[in-house]
Symmetry: C2
Subunit: 386 residues, 2 copies
């Protein structure tokens, strides 16, 4: 039979890193050692109090569907977290619990984008932004951002690219792949400008807990008209559980709920009961220890990579990524990533996964593995480059 | 700010039953008793061996992402299940583990539908079919089906409605809301006819384990070109875990994988480890006991409802639903459902949730509650109607 793939799916590029990862696993199956610095997932397992909460929920037989928008207690706990962390009063009604931040992003884009509508996305940025916009038949306007603006939008770069067809601007702070923050002042300016143009900011705050110096500002302190995305995956160490949330502007809640009923029915129940333990002092203590560990890794890896000839002009304040210019070392970052995997046994992500602006000159290092492994990785790179 | 909801989301009707459910919870909060016969979820909690497998996985620290298409062992176990149950040899590569059948359906429709493409859906049927087709900007052709064809398509009804723009036909056997099966001969005829027209069958087999007389036939015995959807929710009693699967035709696997990476990244890890215990003899024994319990409930409820004046021309062979014509009792099934909730304390689902063909003359009863509660519900209905 003839195979027809819908255009929206054909229009999405595969992740380059997936090919690298598959090759890394092949090499490992052959007995080769690979240092993984390509993975956007903390190495730590879920904190024990969260796991314990899941065990208790299972013992109590909580295995049925929850409401589509999530357990009421969990929505309240998330709203409470905004109060404790940022001093923001938030109605739990606005918190929609989702299967990962992926689910939250899908809801926000689905509810906002008509075919042909434009969405501004930073280049470089997390690839799913542009892919999901394409899936909604939206038009993704990739806006190059560079070191001079900490790889973040400015109100100037945005205003030049905003047409009357623009319905949303996606902001990520801290950013993947760059780890850089957008400061509060700049975020405020952009939010006001975007909203004055009748568009919406979608602010991805999934790395908010993992910030090492300044404190991150949630867009919710600036406007109640933003869509804010967050997740239990990264800071809370719950990647595999698939649990995130969307804070939606009040007038969108019922439409988002209806949409969620159709596309995922409800977020996973065991994960929700587990996440109720994410905000306890015991868990928070463990998470702060991990945050410190990530900070130490960054403070080790950053100068080492600079010493090897990678250019990293901004010290990233958050997440667990270093976005490194490698043009002094290699001509093509994708070929370079393949070569260091094959010859040095170090896996990293080529810039092409994050967009096309200077992508061939950049690679992303993730410090999601222990300090000893990072040291071994640096040693391998040093040998490879010498 | 102006609120703009994307057309695809506006185009979806809310589930009527949600309003009824909210009212039922209000009444219960006031101390009223409600017999729930509206819920499409087994009352049983997840079988103990499955829960125990999850506990073991959590103790072992399995909390990270799995591959997007699922744990290789689980894909193999699912493929093995097709061999054991149906004698079908299936490559595990074709099994894509998803967050519930919702995820599987979303993948299949996303990969098949371009804007304007037509999809044939039975009327009545599960509301998410037509809603998801609308979300993909497809055109849902609702095809009325009645008791004379056991509320299933026939090759005649389909052939009359298939245009050159038709890319898919959704078949559900057993069907929600009718519980009726499509027999193997009819399924074979339809599959051949649809495929001869260059379209694809998407066959929803999520109620396959819950069949009480005949054995259900999987579409995979008939063609390797179908998309088959199944789930751990209903037969395996794992609703809240959000785990299902899609069996895709071989040429679609890589595109489905790419899509899944973007829309949900991976299915939940604890659920996948739990589901590895779903196929053990110990679990299967428990599931068979439950199947018998459902059969006993059906055999009780069906004649009682007929005795009360509901017309149920077909004895449904599967799922846990009775689709009842109530025109001898009430003029408008939606008003009727509200009235019996308010006055008799019995919650059921109005036909309007499942389409528009004779919807005002039908309601759906779910026997997802224990026999004593069903008896109490019947007694309340008897009092109400007398």
């Amino acid at each position: 039979m003839k195979v027809r793939i819908a255009n929206r799916v054909q229009g999405i590029a595969p992740f380059y890193v997936m090919g690298l990862l598959a090759r890394a696993h092949e090499l490992e199956a052959q007995g080769r050692s690979v240092i993984h610095m390509e993975i956007g997932e903390p190495d730590f397992i879920t904190p024990e109090p969260i796991i314990e909460a899941a065990r208790r929920a299972l013992a109590a037989g909580y295995t049925h569907y929850t409401p589509t928008t999530g357990l009421p207690h969990l929505r309240e706990a998330i709203a409470g977290y905004y109060k404790d962390c940022y001093g923001v009063r938030l109605s739990p009604e606005r918190v929609i619990v989702t299967p990962g931040a992926s689910g939250a992003l899908q809801l926000a884009l689905n509810v906002l984008i008509n075919p042909g509508d434009e969405v501004l996305v930073a280049d470089p940025s997390y690839p799913c932004y542009r892919h999901l916009v394409r899936l909604m038949d939206g038009v993704c306007i990739m806006v190059p951002v560079g070191a001079q603006s900490a790889y973040q939008f400015t109100s100037q770069t945005i205003s030049r690219r905003m047409s009357k067809n623009c319905v949303a601007v996606i902001i990520a702070s801290p950013s993947n792949p760059t780890g850089t923050l957008m400061n509060a002042e700049s975020l405020g300016e952009i939010v006001r400008m975007v909203e004055a143009n009748g568009a919406r900011c979608i602010v991805d705050e999934i790395y908010h807990g993992l910030v090492y110096e300044d404190k991150a500002t949630t867009a919710l302190t600036l406007s109640s008209e933003c869509f804010v995305i967050n997740s239990f995956s990264k800071y809370f160490g719950m990647t595999g559980w698939r649990l995130g949330w969307l804070v939606a502007p009040e007038p969108y809640i019922s439409e988002v709920d209806k949409l969620a009923q159709n596309i995922f029915l409800a977020p996973p129940t065991p994960a929700q009961h587990a996440a109720l333990a994410a905000f306890t002092p015991e868990t928070q203590e463990e998470l702060e220890r991990r945050r410190t560990a990530f900070c130490i890794r960054r403070d080790y890896l950053l100068p080492e990579l600079r010493g090897l000839g990678f250019e990293i002009p901004i010290t990233p304040q958050g997440a667990f990524y270093l976005y490194a210019n490698c043009e002094r070392i290699a001509q093509d970052s994708y070929a370079f990533a393949i070569d260091i995997l094959e010859r040095a046994g170090v896996a990293i992500t080529p810039g092409a996964d994050f967009g096309s602006h200077a992508a061939n000159e950049h690679v992303r290092f993730a410090y999601t593995t222990g300090l000893e492994k990072l040291e071994e990785g640096v040693q391998r790179l040093r040998n490879y480059l010498s």
